[in-house]
């Protein structure tokens, strides 16, 4: 027997052993792995929560930070167990999915607008100015319109580098929906969506990519989920809210934006809410999963593992939100979320 034969046999046997042991481990045992993908807005929280859940239950919930749009695609292809999105699915989105889904809120977050300027000055902006900057209308930092809101700040005469997301992003959706709702010019020229036609600026993918890009680019301005801004020590801009106050994003200012009379289906917007303490760009983030889990030969154990994980996320897992700058769900919303989750079924039978 020649050596090459021996060598080939070795590789073959080794590979087959790996492959076979791998396959056998899944048969008939309780489900220990779940795949969740989507939003980078909620990524830091989910990673932390899934890590805690793994310590607790040994269930490996794998998170793919694709983007909210990516979640929809993966859900449509049924390659993941749960999708994560910052944007409620539209009727058209739902029509593209093969079965009805549950959309469960998990946490509240804010979109921070951050700048990279020498000396990290505390800037103030309002919706009209934000719109003008992100449309490329205001081109330099010492523009009169910026100076008017920031009389105390010495602004450099350097050009503004606008950064925006290039991928289909829930964060973009929240940000542009806010601008379209508050600034007529933005609404007419650009509008709102997960992917919009940016008239100017540099495209970046993911919230992590945005944070890295703002850090690296002097004179830049970009928008990203608040946690990323805090964790990468970026300088947020105080935004003028509906009551005329300039507010920085924080757990308190996020909570102040949640109205006491939120409709039962949670479809009411949290953008530009009245209240002096309310931060104007606040949103829920959601998990989306198929209502009946008996599809593609999935087991009841898998549905139960999903139920356990999600009920923990909206239950005890909420304690992890605040240290990461997210606002936990208000009690009333938590109840709504729980009753939504209790509709989860497997072959018509409730999972609860």
């Amino acid at each position: 027997m020649s050596n090459i034969k021996r060598m080939t046999t070795c590789i073959l046997i080794f590979g087959l052993i790996i492959g076979l042991t791998g396959c056998q481990a899944t048969a008939g045992t309780p489900v220990k792995d779940l795949a969740i993908a989507g939003s980078t807005f909620a990524e830091p929280l989910y990673l932390k929560q899934f890590d805690a859940w793994y310590q607790k239950t040994q269930v490996k919930a794998v998170y793919g930070a694709l983007s909210s749009s990516g979640a929809l695609r993966a859900l449509q292809d049924r390659t993941i167990d749960i999708g994560a999105t910052d944007v409620l699915l539209t009727a058209a989105d739902e029509a593209r999915l093969p079965a009805s889904v549950l959309t469960i809120p998990t946490v509240l977050g804010a979109v921070a607008v951050c700048v990279n300027l020498p000396g990290s000055p505390a800037l103030r902006m309002d919706a009209a100015l934000l719109s003008a900057v992100f449309r490329g209308d205001v081109k330099t930092w010492d523009d009169a319109r910026i100076a008017a809101l920031n009389p105390m700040v010495k602004l450099p005469a350097t050009p503004i580098v606008v950064l925006h997301r290039a991928d289909g992003s829930g964060t973009t959706n929240i940000f542009t929906t806010y601008l379209a709702a508050t600034d007529q010019t933005w609404n007419d020229k650009i509008g709102a969506g997960s992917l919009v036609q940016w008239p100017t600026g540099v495209g970046v993918s993911s919230n992590a990519g945005m944070a890295a890009m703002i850090r690296q680019t002097s004179g830049s301005i970009g928008y990203l989920e608040h946690t990323f801004a805090v964790q990468s020590s970026l300088t947020p801009v105080a935004l003028r809210n509906r009551s005329g106050a300039f507010v920085l994003p924080s757990v308190d200012s996020i909570q102040a934006a949640v109205p006491p009379d939120l409709p039962e289906d949670l479809r009411g917007t949290l953008l530009n809410r009245p209240g002096t303490a309310a931060y104007p760009i606040v949103s829920f983030t959601w998990l989306v999963l198929y209502k009946d889990q008996a599809y593609d030969g999935r087991t009841r154990e898998r549905a139960a593992a999903i139920y356990d994980l999600v009920s923990w996320i909206i239950g005890d897992g909420q304690a992890l939100a605040e240290p990461l700058q997210y606002s936990p769900l208000p009690d009333r919303v938590r109840k709504t979320a729980m009753s939504l989750l209790n509709q989860l079924s497997w072959g018509g039978k409730s999972i609860k």
Binding site: T8, G22, A35, P44, G64, S206, S232
Partner: protein, 278 residues
């Protein structure tokens, strides 16, 4: 100095400079990866899974395991196909079908890895309704087979025809000639071809993005999502956290070391072992 010697000197200089540049580029890349990577290497880096986002510590053990499993399984799937196809093409030199096979292998080699990734997603991930390391291995096997087939063919072509004719003259059957003469003679070449192909697929990122999905847990099950070093480097390098960017360099260092070992270390080692035994 005459015009002719001047021209000669200029050309000589250009040729030498280009050759020098080639070495310099590799040296700069390796040096930079070495310097940036080795600084943050520690025991945790090799033995732990990643820490939650924004927290310090953690390692890339999950990705090291993933790279080994995914690459070995890809090689296990691809090796027989690649070697057999190579033998076929070499044994049927000049025949029409063999030429077509060779052409297809070349074309498959030229398919960009991102396309292989989308192919893997559409035909494996979507079909089996889950991301898995196995689909990554199969996708990589598609890249492994053509390189292996071509190398095998070329090495077999180098086997002196006199040797084979001698075997035939002794009454050996064609199968026996292929196994005991051609392959045995070409063994070290084929082995180094396998190693080079393995090194090539070990460094691929694009097919993994669509198939292996990545996982922050240490995973041994081929049917589940798994991480790999290139994937981890891609995610870490684009992250805003300096600690993760540093880990990206360290992971790059480990990956490059692994690939160089596969490509050169294993090649020479195996060649020596084979020579001693033969």
């Amino acid at each position: 100095m005459t015009r002719r010697t001047f021209k000669n000197n200029v050309m000589g200089l250009l040729v030498a400079a280009s050759a020098g540049l080639l070495i310099a580029v590799l040296a700069v890349i390796l040096w930079h990866i070495f310097i940036s990577g080795i600084r943050y290497l520690n025991w945790d880096f090799f033995t732990k899974a990643p820490a939650p986002m924004g927290e310090s510590g953690g390692g890339v053990f999950n990705a090291i395991v993933g790279t080994f499993l995914i690459t070995f399984v890809a090689a296990a799937i691809g090796t027989p196909f690649g070697i057999f196809a190579g033998i076929y093409v070499s044994e049927h030199r000049g025949q029409r079908f063999a030429d077509i096979v060779r052409l297809c292998a070349d074309a498959l080699q030229g398919v960009p890895s991102i396309v292989i990734g989308i192919f893997g997603y559409t035909f494996l991930v979507v079909r089996f309704r889950s991301y898995s390391a196995l689909s990554a291995s199969i996708a990589l096997a598609f890249m492994f087979v053509p390189t292996t087939a071509r190398v095998t063919e070329e090495v077999l072509n180098l086997v002196p025809s006199g040797l084979k004719e001698a075997a035939y003259a002794l009454g050996a059957r064609p199968s026996s000639v292929v196994w005991n003469v051609s392959i045995k003679t070409a063994a070290s070449g084929i082995t180094s071809g396998l190693m080079t192909s393995m090194a090539r697929v070990a460094g691929e990122t694009a097919p993994l993005l669509f198939t292996a999905f990545g996982s922050r847990y240490i995973e041994w099950n081929m049917l589940r999502p798994m991480s790999a070093l290139p994937l981890q480097i891609y995610i870490y390098a684009s992250s805003p956290y300096p600690a993760l960017q540093q880990q990206a360099w360290s992971a790059a260092f480990v990956l490059v070391l692994l690939i160089l070992l596969l490509q050169y270390g294993a090649k020479h080692l195996i060649a020596r072992v084979l020579r001693v035994k033969a």
